[in-house]
């Protein structure tokens, strides 16, 4: 098996291009779409064991990219490989290797955390015993008391729900983890708990992590390499140090923060939303 965790090759995705036969025919791998382009010829490779950050404003195409890698969206052009497996033609082995945390925890609200984890563990091939043995350990490391796992999800705070979402993803021991703005909307303490857990797991379990965020401090704290996404295109990439060097122009590097780097390389602030989504696309395009 190819040992490169993630290869994104010239991926293009547009929305709102109308119906085409290629959208349903299984033998047509790609299909050109003429709507609004959300991901525009994006290519990058993530190395084994690193945390690779994709930073961009709301609407820059981050979540669309994550969904394409997650096998939940089909690209119009280009392709994605996870450990050499094609995400379209070999979706099942890809799914067994990855897991994902999104900004929205997404659980069966009236079921308890444990019932949710039992279901999501079983569909990845874990037994009830595996889930019951691993869950308390993971939740404890995330700073969530075990008894809360027996309460309905709707009784938990947003931060606690997000911790359960992180636990759900790491429960299945994925070798490629997709973290799509995992700390958005969390209080500072929950944010620190999640960040420190991600760093611990990456170091102790040989996990490779793709992280999208618009939190510059988080990106700098966690990421080995970073790519800036703007208007659906990658406009710059490198380690945090290399990115600083790109814009230094004689200034001391420690006087340049990542926000400044982003602004100088993309021409916009990360807090600013990019072009608003068209009607009906709001739910699709978060990143």
């Amino acid at each position: 098996m190819n040992q490169v965790p993630l290869q994104v090759n010239d991926v293009v995705k547009s929305f709102g291009g109308g119906w085409s036969a290629s959208s349903v025919l299984p033998w047509r791998r790609n299909g050109a779409s003429h709507g609004r382009r959300v991901v525009d010829h994006v290519s990058f490779e993530v190395r084994r064991g690193e945390i690779f950050g994709v930073i961009g404003a709301n609407g820059s195409g981050k979540s669309t990219l994550i969904r394409i890698i997650s096998t939940l969206l089909l690209a119009d052009e280009g392709g994605v490989r996870v450990f050499g497996y094609d995400t379209v033609r070999e979706a099942t082995p890809v799914r067994a290797l990855i897991n994902r945390v999104s900004a929205d925890p997404s659980f069966f609200r009236n079921m308890s955390a444990m019932e949710n984890l039992l279901f999501f563990g079983r569909v990845y091939g874990l037994t009830a015993g595996d889930v019951k043995r691993r869950t308390p350990v993971i939740l404890e490391r995330l700073g969530l008391e075990w008894p809360r796992a027996l309460e309905p999800m709707s009784h938990l705070s947003r931060g606690q729900q997000q911790k359960v979402a992180v636990a759900r993803s790491f429960l299945t021991s994925p070798v490629l983890m997709l973290l799509d703005e995992p700390t958005t909307g969390l209080d500072p303490r929950s944010k620190r708990d999640v960040q420190s857990f991600v760093r611990d797991v990456q170091q102790s379990h040989d996990a490779t992590i793709l992280l999208t965020t618009h939190d510059m401090d988080e990106a700098e704290l966690l990421c080995d390499r970073i790519a800036f996404l703007s208007g659906g295109r990658i406009v710059a990439g490198g380690s945090p140090l290399e990115l600083r060097q790109m814009v230094a122009d004689g200034r001391p590097l420690d006087s340049i923060n990542m926000e400044t780097v982003f602004m100088e390389l993309t021409g916009r602030r990360v807090e600013d939303d990019e072009e608003p989504a068209e009607e009906g696309e709001e739910a699709l395009i978060h990143g």
């Binding site: 098996m1 349903v24 299984p26 997650s70 999104s102 659980f107 069966f108 019932e115 091939g125």
Partner: protein
């Protein structure tokens, strides 16, 4: 560095059980809704079956076998309670997860879609059996019916074989919310209503206008009702209702794979156009 091994998809039995267990947990957590549907189903069964008693007390139709009419309507309402529960449970496969917001996490699990849908179908059938048995028990307290002639084996065989066809129909209905996130669920309810109209739930299909007869012929519910009425009212054995069983077997053999294939095409289209996540 440890090399990454070829991943293995989880076993079929474990995944089937995952969906059955999840639906059972949801059923327990939404017990108040279950109670509502049970009461609604029981009241509907009683209300329709009392129409037969009205015929008896009015003396308007001396030639009508009222006991037979009671049993005819009782079976019709019970079978419909069963069919609608199966159709509801399975056709919500997409829509329910959209409401909860879990659809993307479920669809990105390393699970064959056929096994996912089969798990939903097994739960739907078991759930419908339990609910219908409860409604039947309640109805027996209100109506004195003679079931001495009933051939329960034949009735159960018709229901078992027919459930495959109904599951196929329900999966087809479940495709609609994938295609039409805003109106898909309403469209699948219209299919259910049409099946109710043309299948002879409360009357013989002969009373329908001629242009509706072809729809009665292609509705699996027509054969389930005919077969179960034949087995319970007329006491026909499996051999006596073989035509209905054969027809249902053909429907099941066609509808189940066709609905799975249709679901796969619709899922691909939803992934191409980005409609998986959209809220209805």
């Amino acid at each position: 560095m440890v090399s990454i091994a070829m991943p293995r998809a989880p076993g079929t039995a474990g995944v089937l059980w995952a969906f059955i267990e999840r639906q059972t947990n949801l059923w327990k957590r939404y017990w108040a809704w279950e109670l509502v549907w049970l009461v609604y189903g029981a009241v509907n069964t009683l209300a329709v079956t009392f129409i037969a008693r009205q015929v008896d007390s009015s003396g308007a139709a001396a030639s009508i076998d009222v006991d037979r009419l009671v049993l005819f309507l009782l079976i019709g309402t019970l079978v419909w309670a069963y069919l609608s529960a199966v159709l509801d449970d399975i056709s919500l496969v997409v829509q329910w997860e959209r409401w909860e917001g879990t659809i993307e996490h479920t669809l990105m699990a390393p699970v064959r879609r056929s096994v996912h849908l089969a798990g939903m179908c097994v739960f739907g059938v078991l759930h419908a059996v339990v609910r219908t048995m409860l409604i039947f028990a309640i109805a027996l307290a209100f109506f004195e019916v003679d079931l001495g002639q009933a051939d329960w084996l034949a009735a159960a065989t018709v229901l078992f074989v027919g459930s495959f066809a109904v599951a196929g129909l329900a999966v087809l209905a479940g495709v609609l919310p994938l295609l039409y996130p805003e109106r898909g669920q309403q469209m699948s309810m219209m299919i259910q209503a049409f099946v109710l109209l043309v299948s002879g739930v409360y009357y013989e299909v002969d009373v329908l206008p001629a242009w509706l007869h072809p729809f009665a012929v292609i509705s699996p519910a027509t054969y389930i009702l005919d077969g179960i009425r034949g087995a319970i009212i007329d006491g026909e054995g499996v051999a006596g209702v073989w035509r209905e069983i054969a027809a249902l077997a053909v429907f099941g053999a066609l509808l189940l794979p066709a609905s799975m294939a249709t679901f796969a095409v619709a899922e691909r289209w939803a992934k191409r156009t980005g409609r998986l996540k959209r809220q209805g």
